[in-house]
């Protein structure tokens, strides 16, 4: 369980990224922070592994204030996946995946074996293991990034817009892959995105943020759609544009789901 207690962050240049944020992120669920740029979502994420320390308040993991924990050890116990993968360009895929294991003191042989295993888990062919990151496609690099995040089998996985820079088809594939992984692995995932659809797809708990880390609404995707807290939320999730107002039309004996603008979006299953 991750808990934010009245957390605030003002950067050295005076920017107030987060102002009094409190929230509990239940274990073994996916919490998605979603909001436009400048809402403090990445700042909140990076507080969990102390890449950023709050200026006020506390962040607790399993009831322990992480300010009391050694930064480096804490980071090694938490998976981190970032946009543009953040892989080390001078190391092979296998070495990148195994880097956290090696930092934790695992032997090279053991780390290689485990890395191969994780690469398989994230659906990357073992023929890529000896390549360098620049020889892979963007989607493959993200898979390696996820594999690196999972290699040490952490309880917590932090994902900072991991699929933001890949094309829509690959993003779709990676999102499904993540859902499958989460189904199998049961991690506590903190996920940051600016894409509402991605948030609703992946999140058990979705946190919609306004400027300064102010919570506009927290809840399951269905609850947010059923009762948006205010106009900001309605507008942010697209309820005011008709894209989410669906109705059913009968065509050749099948029920076609159509949105307010008349676009057919799918078939109703019975």
């Amino acid at each position: 369980m991750i808990e934010y207690r009245s957390v605030a962050k003002t950067f050295a240049d005076g920017t107030e990224a987060v102002n009094d944020f409190s929230l509990v992120l239940p274990s073994r669920t996916t919490t998605v922070f979603v909001g436009s740029s400048g809402c403090g979502k990445t700042t909140l994420l990076r507080m969990v592994n102390r890449m950023i320390d709050p200026t006020h308040g506390q962040v607790l993991i399993d009831d322990v204030d992480i300010a009391t924990r050694n930064k480096v050890k804490l980071r090694r116990s938490i998976g981190y996946v970032m946009q543009h993968s953040g892989l080390l360009p001078h190391r092979t895929v296998l070495d990148n995946v195994g880097s956290v294991l090696r930092l934790n003191g695992m032997s090279r042989k053991e780390a290689d074996r485990r890395s191969q295993e994780v690469l398989e888990t994230v659906g990357l062919d073992s023929s890529h293991a000896s390549k360098y990151p620049s020889q892979l496609s963007g989607g493959q690099q993200q898979r390696v990034g996820v594999a690196r995040g999972l290699a040490a089998d952490p309880n917590i996985l932090l994902m900072d817009e991991p699929f933001g820079a890949v094309d829509p088809i690959v993003r779709d594939e990676l999102q499904r892959e993540l859902l499958r992984l989460q189904h199998d692995l049961d991690k506590t995932i903190v996920f940051v995105t600016h894409d509402v659809d991605e948030a609703f797809l992946l999140g058990d708990q979705v946190v919609i943020l306004k400027q300064g880390g102010e919570i506009a609404q927290v809840g399951a995707p269905a609850d947010i759609l059923a009762s948006p807290a205010d106009e900001f939320v309605s507008s942010f999730v697209g309820l005011d544009r008709g894209g989410r107002t669906l109705h059913v039309e009968e065509r050749d004996g099948r029920s076609i789901v159509v949105d307010a603008s008349g676009k057919a979006t799918g078939v109703l299953a019975r």
Binding site: R75, Y80, G86
Partner: protein
């Protein structure tokens, strides 16, 4: 006869290849002074340059200091050091060290600055200590530029190490100083040619080293698209 053919005659004269003023001896001395200087300068400049590049602090000071050092006339500095420490190896090595520091320092800090910030951030986020970030990420990725700094320092030192002869030491500068005093121009030209040859050969070695520094990874950095 022309200076060129006189020089060739001088260089191919067997008498100049043996004894205590021989070409092999002078070349060896010259290379020794140069390598000693670059080693001393590296020991001073590389740690400072890496510290500046890693922390991003004091960069302005480094730029100012290297600029000032570059403006110093090496012969003047040598004379000053001789006055301070007397005749001996110390004065020319110190004077040459001041010459070698700017390119070494610049290579180190600009090398580290060239490393993608996102890569460094990721290294820290997966749990590397600051020391590990420096050793396992920044230095390997900056290596081509760091070696480039050593290369340029070495060339400058080789070209300038002739001044050691000015204070009575050996090296290829001997041929220039002695040649000047004796009015022996072929000897002077031969000395210059030898300095150029040594510089070119060392430069070739560094080209290979730089290739190795880059070649340790199949393709160059993943830049954020």
């Amino acid at each position: 006869m022309s200076v060129a053919s006189d020089t060739i005659d001088w260089l191919t004269d067997h008498a100049h290849w043996v004894g205590d003023d021989s070409i092999p001896l002078r070349v060896t001395q010259h290379v020794e002074y140069s390598l000693l200087t670059v080693a001393v300068a590296s020991a001073v400049a590389l740690p400072i340059g890496l510290a500046i590049g890693h922390t991003g602090r004091l960069r302005g000071v480094a730029v100012a200091v290297t600029g000032a050092l570059r403006a110093l006339p090496t012969l003047g500095v040598l004379t000053y050091f001789v006055l301070l420490s007397g005749i001996g190896l110390k004065a020319p090595i110190l004077a040459l060290t001041l010459l070698a520091i700017p390119p070494l320092l610049a290579g180190a800090y600009s090398g580290l600055e060239s490393v993608d910030r996102a890569t460094i951030d990721a290294a820290r986020a997966i749990g590397m200590t600051e020391w590990q970030v420096l050793r396992k990420v920044e230095v390997p990725l900056a290596l081509p530029l760091i070696v480039g700094g050593i290369r340029s320092a070495t060339l400058q030192v080789v070209a300038t190490a002739t001044i050691a002869a000015y204070v009575g030491l050996g090296g290829l500068g001997r041929y220039l100083i002695d040649g000047l005093q004796l009015g022996d121009y072929p000897r002077m030209v031969a000395g210059s040619v030898l300095v150029i040859a040594v510089a070119l050969i060392l430069d070739g070695v560094f080209v290979l080293l730089q290739r190795l520094a880059i070649g340790s990874r199949a393709a160059l950095p993943v830049r954020s698209s």
